[in-house]
């Protein structure tokens, strides 16, 4: 018998998975409902520049094979989605799924990177001030800095970052796949990641949250026991004081980061979901937006799924809940 009972985890995994799917179903319906309530005709995007008569529109609808009733539309769409077919973009006519895959990978990279940045900044501050008390000599200004960054409008921070990297370091922070390789492209991609990581408005919250958790755990009896038996306090505090809170925060912050990504991707010309979402909102390109919202929701669910998994793996019997 191992200390991580796989059976329990597997079972929980199934439960969580089912829940996630249920939620995604709900999401899909909400999205569809909103769009169905929307005024106007989603195909008008195709009529740009031409003078369409009703028969032209009918022709288009027929060509795009659109059901007429709302439930017809919903279920046909849902079925397609379940077959991995998110429909084709009204604007570009490309299958959404394919485009979405690229875009979402880029966004994933951006968000994970920036999440890492956030943690890299927040965790040390949080730990330090949990040990020294959050008013201690050094931790206070650091915490303040966290607050400041969280209060900045992220796109303005972005412009500043660009301005600095141009006039300060004389390089241009834009990633571009057709750039001749080797021009330390990672540097280019670094700036947006930093901007999102610092500016997404989560740092101060993360710091506070971690600090409180850590100091709460540090005051627990079992930590005293650990000290009394001469074991490493950190080893004992790690799971409840750091691992769990961090995973929880990461999971709960994914939505915010995805939101921030919309902005940062605009500024830094980052080919991700956020920019797609904006373009689609402009063109009322409904299949794309639906796809994006679903994908985003999927990210969020995935995040919390992983978080639950870790949580269960760490204490299978729900020792603390």
């Amino acid at each position: 018998m191992t200390s991580i009972p796989l059976k329990a985890i597997a079972f929980a995994l199934l439960r969580e998975l089912a829940l996630a799917l249920l939620l995604l179903l709900g999401v899909s319906f909400v999205v569809f409902a909103i769009l169905y309530a929307a005024p106007g005709d989603q195909f008008s995007v195709l009529l740009e520049g031409q003078l369409p008569s009703e028969e032209v529109r009918a022709g288009i609808r027929a060509a795009m094979g659109v059901a007429q009733t709302w439930y017809g539309q919903y279920f046909s769409w849902l079925l397609n989605v379940l077959n991995g077919n998110f429909g084709t973009s009204v604007r570009t006519g490309q299958p959404v799924a394919g485009v979405l895959l690229n875009a979402s990978l880029n966004t994933l990279y951006l968000t994970l990177g920036s999440m890492f940045v956030t943690l890299a900044v927040a965790v040390p501050i949080a730990l330090y001030s949990s040990v020294r008390g959050h008013l201690a000599v050094i931790s206070w200004p650091l915490t303040m800095l966290g607050y400041l960054f969280s209060a900045l409008p992220v796109f303005w921070l972005g412009y500043i970052a660009i301005y600095i990297s141009i006039h300060g370091f004389n390089f241009f922070p834009l990633s571009s796949s057709s750039q001749t390789p080797g021009q330390h492209d990672w540097l280019y991609t670094l700036v947006p990641v930093l901007v999102l990581g610092l500016g997404s408005g989560t740092i101060s919250e993360v710091i506070r949250n971690l600090r409180e958790e850590m100091s709460r755990v540090m005051a627990d009896d079992y930590i005293r026991t650990a000290r009394a038996k001469g074991a490493s306090v950190w080893r004992h505090a790690f799971k409840e004081g750091l691992l769990l809170p961090v995973t929880e925060i990461v999971a709960s912050k994914i939505p915010f980061l995805l939101g921030g990504a919309v902005i940062v991707e605009q500024i830094f010309n980052w080919p991700g979901m956020g920019r797609m979402a904006w373009q689609a909102a402009q063109d009322r390109d409904f299949p794309v937006i639906m796809g994006i919202v679903l994908a985003a929701a999927a990210f969020v669910r995935l995040g919390s799924l992983i978080q639950r998994m870790i949580h269960i793996a760490v204490n299978p019997q729900g020792a603390r809940d």
Binding site: L19, L23, L24, G26, V27, V30, V31, I34, L35, A37, A38, P39, R132, H134, L135, A136, V137, W140, Y147, L148, S150, A151, L152, P153, V154, F155, W156, Y159, I160, I162, Y163, I166, G201, S204, R208, S252, I254, P255, F256, L258, G259, G260, V262, I263, M273, A277, W278, A280, A281, R284, D285, F286, I289, I292, V293, A296, A297, V300, R301, S304
Partner: protein, 300 residues
Amino acid sequence: MQNVKTYSQTNIEVGQFSQLPLRQKYAIADLLYVAYGLLIVALVLVSYILGMFDLLPHDPQQIHMDMLLAPPASNGYLLGTDFMGRDILSRLIMGIQAYFLPGLLAISIALTGGVVLGILAGYCDRKTETMITYFTNLVDSFPRLVLILLVIAAFKPDIYYIMVVMGITGVPAVATAIANKIRYLAHKNFIEAAVALGLRTRVIIFKHILWYNCRALLIIQATLGMGEAILLETSLSYLGFGVQEPMPSWGNMVQSGANYFLQGNFWPSTAPALAILFTILGFNLLGDGLNNILEDRRGR
């Protein structure tokens, strides 16, 4: 590193605790936070009122084609003028109008919704609770900004639509907070006790749970909510979906100003950006300060 602390006995007898000066009861920093936060809130309120009665240095809508983007302190324009030669200071003050009421709307939606669901979740049977959990999870699954983009695409870029969405997406946080609070109280047999005392459910919920035990929490949520409202409006303005010209909002001021940022004209965007910075800082600090003072003190 050295980390010397001093503890000194003031010769007061116990029971005079309440007569201690504040700074001895609470951490000075927390008090500073709250003080600063309150200052900001006061400023916001004042400028909101000023804006309401047009008590402004200049007409925020007056266009001066002859002095576009005038730098700060050029004849009478303390913070300079924007891309239409309008006085930035006046527009800053006026800008609060743009999100004040919508922000309040968002907050009140979040709070009322959150309270209702929270109480239901904390107070009712398992079934309702699971349903509510499902709902909150559902709402939490939407990245706020993306959802708003969706709504904009479907309907129109209107600050009130946006704030309604924000309010709804704000519900889960409040709900969970309240629900946890109630569970905590129940765990402490607080509720049984109240019931045993023969209090009516309504009284228990509103007086004892909400008023006595959740007001701090609600205040904190509200202050944080206002900060979020401002940031959100700003982000949307950058995307072009925020409050629209000619109505000034800090968001669209930063946005239009930022167009000249890279050419080295900083002030049009910097002034509102700093306004945003300090305001949100104020709301966040207020929230956290109150949190430390009102919430954590309990039980210590």
